[in-house]
């Protein structure tokens, strides 16, 4: 190859000024030209945690996400809906290919998109909670009180989501940081390890959170919300005394909470039995539960309450008459959940989704007391719920009878709320016997969801897959 020399002759020297000038122009103006300003919809992370309002925005966005997507959403993608299909609460009428069918038939596969979206959205929400904790910690401008409030709530979110994940997927990683490098190769924690960390996070949160709600509504977790979760965690963990203690702490806060007398007001906004509610996205909007459960004419095109559940209610049970509704066509009759009744938007929202409510705390304490041998105390709590539902006091006498009565009561009280039925059957060790009687596709390995196939693909430390998948 030849080298070409570009030696300018004297004739050409004068015009060489131009390219040289051009080069200089480019070089001198380079650095500043390609600097751009922040887009108007973004704030740097440092700025976000310089001000309480924006730091709160980073936190409250997690509640919006919890409401709209993932495990706890009231839409047809959430656990309330899908675990009702998975167990014996719903009969599914969905058209073929619908996302509810693999739940209804208990044929979940590792590549199922609902399975991966539960996983991914939960860990995304956990990331945001961890990011809030880290941002708050580094912030030089927030007050100690503000820091405690934000950190306490973020810890609660982290504990809540990990708790659900471990009950659905079994062994899962507990994520404590936003560092993607360590989170990429993270290993699974045993269920015990997860419970230990959940309890530790909740204890810290309880210390940081105040008893008062942040604002007039019950939409931000306070100390009692964390205690309510803690009571449930201890119950699932079989720590009966701790469960009873934690639920007592909530039940004793009678200046905040008491059972609504009228069964029809339980699910209203600011219901006195609501411990934590999710605020709808816009003023006038009501719950996603109402929109996804209610159908106005038969036959249903998505889901209806199963005959098994409907027929189990005593005829005098107010919950059947008030919390379910019949739709008929000719001689056919179907029922849908009617806890949330506001199907259409209203001038101001009348109903908020309730994630934690007082009835559950009574039932937690009833079960915990029964397990500890306090049968009288157990029946007392159980009868509170029965009485409000218009039922007579329980006829259960022995400990197993009372425990069975609690399980039965939980079914009637908590149906289509965040998958209580599924977790209760698991805890009581009755899931195989109960579900294989009504569900042709039920296998004993269905007590755990499959781990999302893509997760096993990108992080081998999450292998092996759960049994049966």
């Amino acid at each position: 190859m030849k080298t070409i020399k570009l030696t300018p002759t004297s004739k050409h020297r004068n015009w060489l000024v131009f390219p040289v000038a051009l080069v200089l122009l480019c070089i001198t103006s380079c650095d500043s030209f390609v600097e751009v300003e922040l887009p108007k919809s973004q704030l740097t992370t440092v700025t976000v945690f310089d001000e309480y309002a924006t730091a709160e925005g980073a936190l409250t966005d997690v509640y919006s996400k919890i409401r709209d997507q993932g495990l706890l959403t009231g839409t047809s993608a959430g656990l309330s809906y899908q675990l009702a299909n998975y167990t014996d609460e719903f009969t599914c009428y969905s058209a073929p290919g619908g996302p509810a069918l693999p739940f209804y038939f208990n044929t979940l596969l590792p590549a199922n998109t609902s399975i991966s979206s539960y996983w991914n959205s939960s860990y995304n929400q956990i990331f945001s909670a961890n990011a809030v904790m880290e941002g708050v910690q580094k912030s030089a401008k927030l007050s100690v009180k503000q820091k405690e409030q934000l950190t306490g709530e973020a810890l609660f979110i982290r504990a809540l989501l990990h708790f659900y994940l471990t009950n659905l997927y079994g062994e899962i990683p507990y994520i404590l940081t936003t560092d993607y490098q360590s989170n990429t190769t993270v290993k699974k924690n045993t269920v015990n390890e997860v419970y230990t960390q959940v309890i530790s996070d909740l204890d810290t949160a309880i210390n940081l959170l105040s008893q008062q709600y942040d604002g007039p509504e019950r939409i931000r977790p306070n100390q009692f919300v964390a205690k309510s979760l803690l009571a449930r965690v201890y119950l699932y963990d079989g720590a009966w005394a701790e469960a009873a203690n934690a639920s007592s702490a909530v039940l004793n806060a009678t200046n905040f909470y008491f059972l609504e007398n009228a069964i029809s007001t339980v699910f209203l906004k600011n219901s006195k039995e609501a411990i934590w509610q999710l605020q709808p996205a816009t003023a006038g909007k009501n719950t996603d539960e109402a929109a996804s459960f209610i159908f106005l004419s038969g036959p249903p095109t998505m889901v209806a309450l199963s005959d098994n559940l409907i027929n189990s209610f005593t005829s005098s049970d107010l919950r059947k008459s008030n919390w379910t509704k019949a739709v008929s066509k000719g001689s056919d009759i179907w029922h849908h959940p009617y806890k949330y009744k506001a199907f259409n938007p209203t001038a101001a929202s009348v109903e908020y989704s309730i994630v934690f409510r007082l009835s559950e705390q009574y039932l937690i304490r009833a079960e915990a007391r029964a397990q500890q041998g306090d049968l009288i105390g157990a029946k007392e709590d159980l009868n509170k719920i029965r009485k409000r539902a218009g039922l007579n006091e329980t006829t259960a006498v022995t400990q197993p009878e009372i425990l069975n009565a609690v399980l039965q009561e939980r079914r009637w009280e908590l149906f289509t709320e965040y998958g209580h039925r599924f977790f209760d059957l698991k805890r009581f060790g009755k899931i195989d016997s109960v579900l294989s009687a009504t569900k042709a596709g039920w296998n004993s390995t269905d007590v755990l969801f499959p781990l999302p196939q893509n997760e096993l693909s990108v992080n081998p430390n999450l292998r092996p897959q759960n049994n049966g998948y």
């Binding site: 122009l25 380079c30 030209f33 966005d61 993607y180 096993l456 990108v458 992080n459």
Partner: protein, 1007 residues
Amino acid sequence: MKNISFYKGGSAFWYLILFGFSLSYTPAPAKTILRQLQSQPQQSQISGTITDATSPLPGVTISIKGKATSGAISDVNGKYTLTASPNDIVVFSFMGFKTITIPLNGRSVLDIQMQEDATALQEVKINAGYYSVKESERTGSIARITASAIETQPVTNVLAAMQGRMAGVSIIQTTGVPGGGFDIKIRGQNSIRTDGNSPLYIIDGVPYATDPIGYNQTASTFPSVTSPLNSINPASIESIEVLKDADATAIYGSKGANGVVLITTKRGKSGKTTVNVKSTTGVGTVTKFMKLMNTEEYLAMRRQAFSNDRITTYPQSAYDVNGTWDQNRYTDWQKEFIGGTAQFNDVQGVLSGGSNKTQFLLSSTYHTETTVFPSDFIYKKGGAQFNMNHSSEDNKFKFTFSTGYNLQNNDQPAFDLTASSRSLAPNAPALYNEDGKLNWENGTWQNPLRFMVAKFKSKTNDLVSNAVISYEIFPAVVLKSNFGFTDLRHTETRTSPSTIYNPSFNLTSSNSSIYFNTTNRQSWIIEPQLNWEKELGTSKIGVLLGGTFQNQNTTRLYQFGSGFTSNSLLYDLASATTARVLFSDDAQYKYQAFFGRINYNWNERYLFNFTGRRDGSSRFGPGKQFATFGAIGMAWLFSKENFLKENSWLSFGKLRASYGTTGNDQIGDYQFLNTYTSTGILYDSNVGLQPSRLFNPNFGWEINKKLEAAIEAGFFNDRLFLTAAWYQNRSSNQLVGIPLPGTTGFQTLQANLDATVENAGWEFTLRTVNFSTKNFNWTTNLNLTFAQNKLLRYPGLETSTNSQKYRIGQPLNIELLYEYTGIDPQKGVYQFKDINSDGAITFPNDKQTAVDLNPQYFGGIQNQLSYKNWKLDFLFQFVKQEKRNYTIGFAGQMTNQPARMADSWQQLGDDATEQIYTTGANSAAVTASSLYNQSTGILTDASFIRLKNIALSYDLPLVIQNTKCQIIFQGQNLLTLSSYKDGDPEFITAGFLPPLKIITAGIQLTF
């Protein structure tokens, strides 16, 4: 401007003509051209007719040797007039014909018969972006199509016009719905990112951003969100050049990695003012339906499924078999939903003309296209193009201005009915009641036609404008600057009115909702350049230096409204009871570069081309913004060597090679920032803020090294012309969204991946002039591409997040699949190879069979025939590939199935091709069906040969002066030969409307 070729100072005349003729032909450089004009005292008018032996030849350039200022162009009847002196030498030149040089010798009438010259194609000026180069002297790899090929096709998308016509360019239509998209890959997938492989588009020197303008909530009709490429009007295009190798693309530096598509619009020509009007009309239908079960087969399947699942009482919701629906009904839903006929109408008008110093062109088009869906939907596209060229009397100052404005108005159903047409039970109820209203059959089905009232509407206004000013400041030194401006305004809506629901639900307009997407993009570019060319004895040297300053602003506004008092107010966001801004963003992209080229031509035999560029992009963080790219290209025209000069059979021979680097910055804006983004969603009166992404500021430029060697040879006076090119592109330091486990909170991280991807292949083109006689001409063009994509290096792949995605030595888009082994004779379910012999089919250990779904080879054969006034042009496109069969869930549920599913396993000892039917209760069968979809069993040969395009035209023999009338018949996708059974074999995502088979007829008038 790209079409100006900078020749020696004295040949200024030529580039005046070149202004008007991007396809212009330049005669072999005449070294005796006078540098200065001499005064010619005795001027007289000369005239004549130019023919090509059979018919008059319009558009021939007539010039006078040594006089840059005079010249003419023959009109439609081949006639010309020119002012000349008696002793002048007149030159007649026209692309594709031998140049004729005749001394006038005092004559006043000069009739010329021109002869076709196959070699002339070597003289064509090729647009290489910042410069142009003669085809024979090109050192880089550039493929090209011109208006003559584009105009034969009844298509509205520029990529459709390129399909099957260029070696190394793979184009796939993703949907047959008008306004939908195409997927293009030039020399394979370089980047692991699926969205970082688009080439750079440049229209008349102005970069045209092709980042999507759609929004997934609004553009639900298409498999991918709306692309702005539909705005480009093929009718306004004079030529498309695709730059492929390092030599051609390195001058585009960071944007050149995936190739460059240069679009040159039509230019005004000097001569008589002409008007050209063309009108076509036509019809389109779906190319191919899928073979599905009929009612009898379907109901037999359903009954068998229940019996297999031991369900004796049909459930209430099994309307198809439990007697609710008529079991004697049969409807071919494909015919009902996508079997309609789309109407095509197209009108074009062009007005052009001008003097030697100033030319203009004004064109306008209007196109409408309905759909094959069973309702009135229409796509409208209209536009105008204006071009003006001017040069000063002394030819030192030149000015070019081009502007194109295109409007699209699309009205489509919000959902493509193709998937429904395949899955709906064949005995599903009638679509309409007797009163003409939608039939809901007592609420037992969701009538798919309900989606016809949910609409996707879009409006796109697109302006691309450029101006080039140049001045010859010293002899052979030209200073010029290119100024460009683009303005794209796009709005999209998707409605979900309450009328899509069964009226018995009593839903009112308070349940209606609408999504809005408003995306606007403005950009400007300024590119000052300096060009110098010099002859040094037998060699020539050319130097180009330039700079780029580019700024682009994209604003996006996504809105949602729900709850309306009336459905007729649905498009009025102010009438919504709930109106929300979902996203509001203003992204700025700034780009700056300095580039140069040195070209050295020794003795017209040895050519060296050095190009380089230093780029800065705002898409990278501080300290990572700048990078340098460069390439060297060389060519040896061995046919000009003395030992071959007189060779009787070899008419042209060239060896060329190039090596260099290019980059890729298609990663989106602001990715290096650690920010929170507003979600616009209130909770507890706080506006939500979410972490925008995982924060990684340390990513830098991706490097793409390209190597190419090619031979070009012409035989028998170029009647047979062959090119063979071998290329090898290696991308390293890949900038990708590295997949992350969900436990990190996100699915990807923007980072450089320490991996190398190689795209290598062979590209062949062959042009043969089979017949070239007085009345009959026949030319054949063949292009053929063999491409291989390979992951060369990936340290730590086994432990990386990509361990189940890639394999060293295999293509990037392999799929790891289970190995299908047949039906389990005992249980009747699909079986797979248990690779790790653990007794179960598990992921990932048993899902390890790597399958390459890239096309093995593809290409096209084009034939152009002309006989007297008749012209016939047809193109066959062929692709050798494997694809997935189309599946509709597991067989036995309430969905129709491909006809082949009728052969299912029923009892022990059955030798069936498909597994046992189930209604969903047989968990083993459901699982096996899902695994089957991830197994080798699902793959099938989807190679095809397609009569992509056919065009027949006839020139009416008219007696009227200066008038031409042509009748045109065109067809697209008329015939497809393929063994693929599940619809059309051309798709990216299955289940969308296939490409249409289009037939049009038209008439073109020129006067």
